[in-house]
């Protein structure tokens, strides 16, 4: 005999009920300039479900204490909750070992950590770091800094007019000199899903390690770091329905073991004397100072949330919505998509005639529709497409066809105003 809950799971139609999920996000229930809010800036940051907000509130109102050091009850509860979140992350990306999950402030800090701790003492003049032309600034600048420090050379694999990595060129740029390949899993400016499996295999074949920037990926598709066999993977909690200021660096254990600490301080040591300091074991070696405890716990709650909805269901649903949005957008006179990769996720980047994206953004805001306009921290992508900026609508699991219709109507309005 099945309980009602089980029956719902069995009879629920494949897919996802965005209208029902929407109710979990209190912020979506408001008007902007007198119109119901349509939030389409999810690639910048997603909204937070009640479940995440409540987990953070519960932590601060019931369990708040510093972790790892206290013998008292609250400290134990806080430690359990924080370490429990680490286990949720491990399962979420299917890492082999808890020690491979390092809590950081976000994708940016994760990349900087790898650049400085993995690369600084290892790379030298003549070594090469290979990235793609569609990277977010956070996967460009840390490598430029590292190159300046070590004399290593930064190489950039080009993209084509669809916004796809040109694989032939990528392969040509790989050589035994390549020590590290850093590639975005899903591009925030174009929506392109990179063929990371092939990239990783090719990089490993020349002996390079691979870092994937998963900032845009984790909320839109199931990620399995073991199946991918990537060496490092980074993402931010706030783009995964969790709080800002928390994120994850995954690294293969043998690599992390061999890396020196990134910062010094409390929690990352085992024993300190003025003569000698013995570093703590993984992952604490990389977690100096009191961390963002509530941020880790909030991330854990966010992972529970997306896992309950189902990553495959999310991917499928968003794919349908993206197709619909693309079809509709192409009906808008003057609209040109920037980023038309065959393999694409959740992001619609575009320009509209000669109307500047900033003007589009302001008029859309007046219609209650929140999108991003600008260079999306990917100035080289803007240069490639020879536009100063784009307008970008990015989708999440709570967006609906209605949201897309509102976007399209607002774009017609932009054309009308600027007609």
């Amino acid at each position: 005999m099945s309980t009602p809950k089980e029956r719902i799971e069995i009879t629920a139609p494949a897919g996802l009920d965005a209208v029902r999920l929407r109710a979990d996000f209190p912020i979506l229930n408001q008007t902007v300039h007198g119109r119901p809010l349509v939030y389409l800036d999810n690639a910048a940051t997603t909204q937070k479900p009640r479940q995440v907000i409540e987990a953070i509130e519960h932590y601060y109102s019931a369990d708040n204490a510093n972790i790892h050091r206290g013998v008292h009850t609250l400290s134990q509860r806080a430690t359990d909750a924080y370490e429990g979140a680490r286990e949720k992350v491990r399962r979420f990306i299917n890492a082999a070992d808890l020690r491979e999950i390092v809590f950081v402030r976000g994708a940016t800090e994760g990349i900087n950590l790898v650049a400085q701790s993995y690369g600084r003492n290892r790379f030298k003049a003549g070594d090469e770091i290979l990235i793609s032309a569609m990277e977010h600034h956070s996967n460009i600048v840390p490598w430029q800094m590292l190159c300046e420090q070590t004399g290593a050379l930064l190489k950039v694999a080009p993209i084509n007019d669809a916004g796809e990595l040109i694989l032939d060129e990528f392969h040509k740029l790989l050589s035994p000199r390549t020590k590290l390949v850093g590639v975005v899993h899903i591009s925030n400016a174009l929506g392109t899903i990179n063929p990371v499996q092939e990239i990783i295999a090719a990089a490993h074949a020349v002996g390079a390690v691979v870092l994937l920037d998963g900032a845009q990926a984790v909320a839109h598709a199931a990620v399995d770091v073991r199946a991918l066999n990537c060496d490092f993977y980074v993402f931010s909690s706030h783009k995964l329905y969790g709080p800002t200021g928390s994120g994850v660096l995954y690294g293969k254990r043998e690599l992390l073991e061999a890396m020196p600490p990134y910062q010094g301080g409390g929690d990352m040591i085992r024993m300190v004397s003025f003569a000698k300091t013995e570093y703590n074991s993984l992952p604490y070696k990389f977690e100096a100072g009191t961390p963002h405890i509530a941020g880790g716990i909030g991330l854990g709650a966010a992972i529970d949330y997306v896992t309950a909805v189902g990553l495959d269901a999310i991917a499928q649903y968003e794919d349908h919505l993206l197709r619909y949005a693309t079809e509709q957008a192409l009906q808008v006179p003057g609209l040109r998509l920037i980023g038309t990769a065959r393999d694409k996720a959740a992001i619609l980047s575009f320009v509209l005639g000669r109307i500047h994206p900033h003007d589009i953004g302001t008029i859309l805001d007046h219609e209650g529709v929140a999108i991003r306009t600008g260079h999306h921290c990917a100035m080289p992508v803007m240069d490639y497409f020879n536009v100063p900026a784009t307008a970008r609508a990015s989708l999440a699991l709570y967006n609906t066809r209605d949201d897309v219709d509102r976007l399209i109507a607002a774009l017609h309005k932009v054309n009308e105003v600027f007609g």
């Binding site: 994206p357 302001t362 260079h375 600027f418």
Partner: protein, 149 residues
């Protein structure tokens, strides 16, 4: 709720579609490049300054409707103006736009008042002031790029 038409007034559309004094200025003796990295706007301003008087001014570049119209309106206004008066006007314009002014006397702005709509849009104030920051740099003869950041 502010009306979109307060921001995008007809004069602004007109200057955006048909910017005045657009293009390179032959014989310019001052120029500067202004850049708003946030939105990618970039404009180059050329001035001919003789005896502390702006005898001619032109601009070129790419920007949103607000920044293009502001640059166009600015060039119209500057022709024949004393350098010191131009700087004073910039100060006044800037203060009124950023709500730093202690009074709301907009008379000295003349036609530039059409840009006051941006006061309701803090994210857009820099679009309206980019041309003026560039002017300031050109007059100071800073030949490097200035940014709004």
């Amino acid at each position: 709720m502010s009306d979109l038409r307060d921001l995008y007034q007809e004069v602004i559309f007109d200057h955006n579609r048909h910017p005045r004094n657009f293009g390179k200025l032959e014989g310019a003796n001052r120029h500067a490049v202004g850049h708003n990295p946030l939105c990618g706007d970039r404009l180059t301003l050329y001035l001919k300054v003789e005896n502390e008087l702006i005898s001619d001014v032109r601009f070129e570049g790419m920007g949103c409707a607000i920044s293009t119209a502001s640059a166009s309106l600015m060039t119209e206004r500057l022709k024949g103006m004393k350098v010191a008066d131009a700087e004073t006007l910039f100060g006044r314009f800037h203060d009124l736009l950023t709500n730093a002014a202690t009074d709301d006397d907009t008379a000295s702005l003349g036609k530039l008042t059409v840009l006051l709509g941006v006061r309701e849009y803090p994210a857009r104030v820099k679009c309206a002031t980019l041309a003026w920051h560039t002017l300031h740099a050109a007059l100071a003869n800073q030949d490097h790029a200035v940014t709004t950041e």
